[in-house]
Amino acid sequence: MRITHRMIANTVNFNLQSSLRRLEVYSNQLSTGKAFHKPSQNPVGVGRVMSYSASIDRNEQYRMNMNQSKGWLENSEDSLQNGLDVMQRIRELAIYGANESLTAEDRRAIAPEVVEFIDHLIGVANTESNGLYIFGGHQTAKEPFVRHNVYGIKEHYLEQSHQGYAAYDAGELQEGTANREIGLEFVVDGEKHSVTALSGGADTDVTFDNIKNAVEGHAKLGQYFSVDGNEDNMIISRITPGDFTIEAVTAEAGTVIENLDEDTPVDVLSADQNIESLSGISPNSFLAGEYHILTEDTDAAYAVDTATRHYQYSQSGDNLVSSVEATTASHNQSVSFVVTGVDEEENEITFSYQYKEMDPGDGTIAADTGTFTVDLDNTEPFAIDIGENTYELTFNDDGEFTAGDRLVINTNAAIDNNADLVHLYRDGDTPSFFTYAFEDGTLNAGTYSFEFFSLDQDSGALLESSMDLTWGTGAFETGDDPDTPAAGFLIEQLGKGGTYADRVEKISTEGLQNGTYRFEETSYTAEDDFESDIKVGQQYLQGSVASILTGSAAPDQVQLSANNNDRNASILLEVRSVDYDTGLVRYEYTSHEYEMDGTHHRESGTFTLTLGGAPTQAVNIGNIAVDVDGLDNLLASDARGLEVGDRAVVDIRPAMNDGATYQRANISGEYRGGSSETRFIFNEDALQGSETDLRFFSLETFRRSPEHGRVYDGSITADDDTLELLRLPQNQEFKYDRSGFPVYYGDSEDRIQEISPHQEVIMNLHGEKAFGEYQDVFEAVYDVYWALIDNDREALGGEALGKMDRAIDDLLENISQVGARSNRVEAMESTLFNENIHLREVRSNIEDIDIALVITEFMMQENAYRAALSTANMMMQPSLVDYMR
C-alpha cells in the first residue's frame, strides 16, 4: 500500500488522541476513586449502585428508628422499675400496718407516707421522654394520668380561671339573711386580704353579689384563702349564680375537711343556721332538670294560700281573673283551667278544668276533669267546687277572652300547727314552686309518691312529674337535741343509717359507682300522660371540669329533653371539637339503650350543635330523638365555655302514657361520697316471671376505654318485692374516696415502629397495660391507704396485700416484656449493622476502582503516549528533501 506523509501524521495524531482519552479516563477515576460517574459508563452498575445506596440509606433510617424505640423502651423499663420499687415500699408499709400491735393512730400515721408514694407513682405514670408522655398510648401530648377529686378541683380547671370568686364547703348556700357578721379573709399569692363587711351583723342581707364583689379583684380560682381569720386555707372553687358552692379544704389540695370543729367559722355560713332557706313561692313551670325535695316542719298554722301561687296566661295579655280565693281547702291541689269557648253575644265563657289533689291526712291522690260556664256580666265572685276544695274566682269583666287562655292554681290545704311541708324546687331556681302540706305526724316511715303538674309558661303544655320519697323508720321528729337542725326529717341515707338532715339529697343519676347496691322494684300504673315529657339532663360531671349539658337553668347550661321516647338509656356525651368562630360543637356519644321489654342496644355516634343559634335544636342520640334547649345562651358572657374532653352522662327514662301497668326497677348505690340511683322502667311483662335477669348500667365519665360504662348484672324476682343485695361482678368493694384517684386520659393504642422491611416493634406500653385496665396499680395502693385510715388490719394483711401482690406481679411482667422487646431491637440492630457493612462492600466493589490496577494502567498508558510522541518525532523529521542538494 502506498503511504503518504499525511497518513503518517494522521496515524500519529489518532494514536495520540486515543492515548490521551484513556489517560483522561484513568485520571478521572484516580481523582474521584469511582470507576464511573455517568450512567453511560456502566448503566447496570449505576442502577445497582442506586439501588444499594437506597437500601443503605433506608437501613440507616431503620437504625435511627431503633435508637428511638430503644430509648422509649428503656425509659419505660426504668420508669416501671422505679414504680416497682415504690410499690414494694408500699407493700412493706402494708405488712407493717397489718402488725397486730399497732393502734389505729399508728396506722393512720403511716397513711401520709403512702400518700407520698402515691404522688411519686403518679409522677412515674406521667413520665415524659423528650416532652412526650410515654404511657399515654397515642395521646402523648397531655398528661395521661390526671388526678381528680369529687369537688371538681383540677389543675387545668384552675388555669382557665373564669372569674375570681370564692367559695367553701358545707353544702349549698342560699341567699338570705345572716344572723351574724360575716367576713372573709383570704390570701392571694401570699398576700392577705380581708373583707370584713360582707354582712353588717345580724339581719343583714347576704347576697351572692356582695360575696362576689368582696372577693373579685383579689382572688382567683384555685387560690387559697382563709375565712374570718381562721388559719385553715380554703380553696376557691366556683360560684355560679343560683348555685353557690363553697368548699373547704386544707392547704393540701384535694383533702376535704370532713369534720370542721365547732369553732371553725365555716359553720357561720352553713345554710341551716344562718340563712333562711326558703322564701316565697312562685309559680314556675316544670322544666327539665334536677329537683330537690325539701321537707320542712312548720310550727305555725298553715293557712290556705293561693294568691301567690296561681299562674295565668291570656293571649290578650289581660288577666283572666282578678282574684282567686280558696274558701275551703282541705286538700293539696293543682288545678288548670283552659278557656274552651267564648260567647260574645251572651258575654259568657266556657272553661274546662282538670285537677289533681292529695289528701294531707293520708297522702291519697285523686284527679278529675270537668267544665263550667261563667256569665261575665255577673260581677260577683264565681264560686266553684273542684274536688274537695271550693274556690271563689273574680273574673276580669274588662278583659278579652280567647279560647286557649289558661289559669293554674296551686293550693295548699289549710293545716293545723306543726304541719309538715314538702317542697319541690328545681336546682338553680328560687325555691320553690310547689308545696305539699301534710297534717302533723302523717309523714311516717314509708314510701310516698308525690305527683306534680303545672302548665308550661310558653307553650301551655301540661307538664307533669312524679317523685317517690322514702322515709326511714325513725319517723319524723322535731329535734330537742341542739345538735340536730331545728327543722328536718329523719331521712334514711342508704348505708349511713338514720341521720337528721335539712332535706333529702338531690334525686339524680350520677352513674353507677363501684360499691354495694340495693335493688328495689316497684310496680306502677301509668296515668294519663304520666311521664309524657321525659325529664332528662341529670348531669354527671365527675372528673370533668366544665359542664356541657346540665339540667339547670344557669346561663351557660343547656338541657336535653327526649320526645316520645320509649327506651331507657344512659348516654355518655363528650365534646370532641369546639369551633368558636362558627359556633359548631361536635359531640360524640356512646349509649346503652334498653327497650321496654328489656332488649339491650349499644349505640354510638356523633352530632353537631350550633352555639348561639336556634335555642332548640333537634338531634338523634342513638334511637332517641332529643331536643337540646338553651344553646343560644352558651355564648353568653357568663359562659365558662366548652372544652374538648368535657363530658356528661345523661340518663333517660321512657314515656309511659298509655295507662298501662309498668314496672320500675330502681338501683341505688352506696359508696363513699354519696348515693346514686338509676331507674329503669319496663313493660309489665318484662319483669314478670319467677326470675328475670337485668343488667344495670350507667356510663362513667372517667375513662375512654371502649366499654366506657360499667354494667352490673343482677336478677330480680318480680313477685318478690324484698330488697336484694347486688354485688359487683368482681366481688370488690371500693371503700376509698375517689378524690385524688388518677383517671387515665390516654388511649390503649400501640405505638408501632418499623425496624426493618418486615419487622415491627411496639415501642410503648400504654397506660392501661402498664398500670392496669382500671388503674389496678393505683387501686391497690389506695386500698392500702384506706385500710390504714380505716384501721382495717384484716384487709392490710389480706385483701389489700393480695391486690398489691397482683399489681406487683403485673408490673414485673410488664418490665420483663419491655426488656424483651428492647433486647429484640438490639439484636435486630446488630443484624442491620452487619447487613449495611455487607451492602457497602458490595456497592464499593461495583463503583470503586482498584487503585493499584488503575495506576498501573495509567503508567502503561503514559509510556505508550511517550512512545507515540517520540516515534512521531522520528518519523516526521526525515524526508527525501533533506537529502537532495
Binding site: H37, S40, P43
Partner: protein, 465 residues
C-alpha cells in the same frame, strides 16, 4: 522525416517534461490542502505517420495525453455513507450525554437521592409524629423532591428547544451546501462543453458532497460530464445546476421532520439531522414521559393514602399531600408540587390513622411502605424507586450504545480515509523522484536539441564553403 522534424521531437520532449515538472510542483504545493487529489501526468509517444518502411520510422516524440486525478470512486462512496452514520451516532451520543448531565445520577443531587430522603422522612415521621421539626423536615424534603423533578423536566424541555434551534440551522446548511453543489455542477458542465476540464472543481465538488454527507445521508449519481445528482431520503436535492431546498415541518404525531420543496418528508436514516430529529422527537420526550408516568403514580398513591390519615391531634382528614393532578395540559412532572395545606402547616401532614392521636404514626408508616409497593397494575409491576432506577439504567445503556457506535464508525471512517489518502494523497518523496526524473529528461532533451543543431551546423558550414 526531415532534420527539422528532429527539432520537433526535442521541442515536444521539452514541453512534456516541463508539464510533468509543473504537475509535480502542484502536487507538492497542495500536499496539505484538504480535499486535494493527487494528479498524475500521463505521457504518450507520438506515432509516426505511415511510411514505406515502418521500421525505419522511430515516431515523432512525446505528448502529454492527460493530467488525471488519482482517486477511487468506491472508497469515496464508502466514505460518504460512513460519515453520515458516524455523525448520526455522534449526535445521539451527545443527546444522551446531555440527558445524563441533567439527571445527575448517581451523584448526590439526583432525583434518586431526594426520593430516598423523602421516603426516609416518612419513616422518621412514623416514629416521631409529635415532632414539628420532623414534620418540617419532611415537608422540606418533599419540596426539594418536587423542585428537583420540575427542574429536571424543565431542563429537558430546554434541551429539546436548543436542539430544535440547532436543527433549523443545520437544515439551512443543507440548503447552502446544495446550492454550492449546484453551482459547481454548472461550472463543470460549462468547462466540459469547451472540451476542457478542471481537476480543482472536481475536488471542490467532492468536498461539498462530503460536507453534505455529515448532515444527511445521500446518494450520489455521477453523470458522464462530471456533474452529480444528489438524492437524500428518496428526495432529489440537486440536479444539474438546480438545487431543491428542504425545510423543517411538523409531522403531527411523528413530531418534527424534514420535508422536500414539494412538502414530502425525507426518509432519513442517518446523518446529524436524523440524530437531532430522533433526540427531539423520541429520546428526550421519552424520558419526559417516563418521568410523568412515575410522578402521576407517585402523586396518586401518596394522596390516596394521605387522605385516609388524620392531621396532628385533630380530626382533620381527607388532606392531599401533593397537589392533585388535573391532567389539563400541564405535564405531571411540572404540576408536581406539595399541596397548599401542607405548605401552610406541617401539622396537616396526616401521620395518624385515627383522629386526635398525636402519638399515632401508623399512616405515615403505611406511606413509607409505598417505597417498596409493587403492583402489576401500575408502573409495570415495579416499585417507584425501581422504576426510576430502571429508567436511568436504560438511559445509560442508550448512551453507552451510542458511544460504541460512534467508536466503531470512527474507526471505519479512519480506515477509509487512510485508504483514500493512500490512493489520492501526495507523497513528497515520490514527487521529488518524479521531479528529478523530469529534470533529467528535460536536460537530455535539451542536449538532444544541441546535437541536432550541431549536426545542422555541419551541413551549413562545411557544405557551403
Amino acid at each position: 522525416m526531415t532534420i527539422f522534424g528532429s527539432f520537433e521531437i526535442g521541442r515536444k520532449a521539452l514541453r512534456a517534461q516541463h508539464k510533468g515538472m509543473e504537475v509535480s510542483g502542484q502536487n507538492v504545493a497542495n500536499a496539505n490542502t484538504p480535499g486535494y487529489t493527487r494528479q498524475r501526468t500521463d505521457m504518450e509517444s507520438v506515432v509516426a505517420p505511415m511510411v514505406k518502411n515502418p521500421s525505419m520510422a522511430p515516431g515523432r516524440g512525446v505528448v502529454v495525453a492527460d493530467v488525471v486525478r488519482v482517486r477511487s470512486e468506491f472508497y469515496h462512496k464508502q466514505l460518504i455513507s460512513t460519515t453520515s452514520n458516524k455523525e448520526y451516532w455522534d449526535t445521539r451520543y451527545e443527546t444522551f450525554l446531555g440527558a445524563e448531565a441533567i439527571f445527575m445520577e448517581p451523584e448526590d443531587y439526583g432525583i434518586n437521592k431526594y426520593l430516598n430522603d423523602f421516603f426516609d422522612s416518612w419513616q422518621e415521621l412514623s416514629s416521631s409524629p409529635e415532632e414539628a421539626s420532623v414534620r418540617a423536615g419532611l415537608r422540606e424534603n418533599a419540596i426539594s423532591l418536587t423542585r428537583t423533578v420540575q427542574d429536571v423536566y424543565h431542563r429537558l424541555d430546554d434541551q429539546i428547544e436548543n436542539l430544535e434551534n440547532e436543527l433549523s440551522m443545520i437544515v439551512n446548511d443543507v440548503n447552502r451546501i446544495s446550492d454550492t453543489i449546484a453551482e459547481l455542477n454548472e461550472k463543470i458542465r460549462f468547462i466540459d462543453t469547451m472540451q476542457e476540464k478542471s481537476n480543482e472543481l472536481f475536488d471542490q465538488l467532492d468536498l461539498a458532497i462530503e460536507e453534505l454527507a455529515e448532515l444527511v445521508n445521500i446518494n450520489v449519481h455521477r453523470q458522464a460530464n462530471g456533474t452529480v445528482e444528489i438524492f437524500s431520503g428518496g428526495r432529489l436535492l440537486v440536479q444539474e445546476d438546480r438545487s431543491f431546498h428542504v425545510s423543517l415541518g411538523d409531522g403531527g404525531e411523528k413530531g418534527l421532520q424534514v420535508v422536500s420543496s414539494r412538502g414530502l418528508p425525507l426518509q432519513l436514516s442517518s446523518g446529524k439531522v436524523k440524530g437531532l430529529l430522533d433526540a427531539v422527537n423520541e429520546d428526550l420526550p421519552g424520558l419526559q414521559n417516563e418521568l410523568n408516568k412515575l410522578i402521576t403514580v407517585l402523586v396518586k398513591d401518596f394522596n390516596e393514602l394521605h387522605r385516609q390519615g388524620y392531621a396532628y391531634d385533630s380530626d382533620k382528614t381527607g388532606i392531599d399531600f401533593f397537589k392533585p393532578m388535573d391532567n389539563k395540559g400541564v405535564p405531571a412532572a411540572m404540576a408536581f408540587a406539595v399541596s397548599d395545606a401542607i405548605i401552610e402547616d406541617g401539622s396537616n401532614i396526616a401521620a395518624a390513622n385515627v383522629a386526635f392521636a398525636p402519638g399515632n404514626g401508623n399512616n405515615s408508616l403505611e406511606i413509607a411502605r409505598l417505597r417498596d409497593l409493587k403492583s402489576p397494575d401500575r408502573l409495570g409491576g415495579a416499585s417507584i424507586s425501581d422504576y426510576y432506577q430502571a429508567m436511568i439504567t436504560s438511559m445509560g445503556v442508550e448512551a453507552q450504545d451510542s458511544e460504541r457506535m460512534v467508536g466503531a464508525f470512527e474507526k471505519t471512517l479512519g480506515q477509509l480515509q487512510e485508504m483514500h489518502e493512500s490512493i489520492s494523497g501526495v507523497n513528497i518523496d515520490e514527487e521529488m523522484l518524479n521531479m528529478v526524473q523530469y529534470q533529467h529528461s528535460w536536460h537530455a532533451a535539451a542536449r538532444y536539441l544541441n546535437y541536432v543543431d550541431q549536426m545542422l551546423g555541419v551541413l551549413f558550414t562545411e557544405l557551403g564553403r
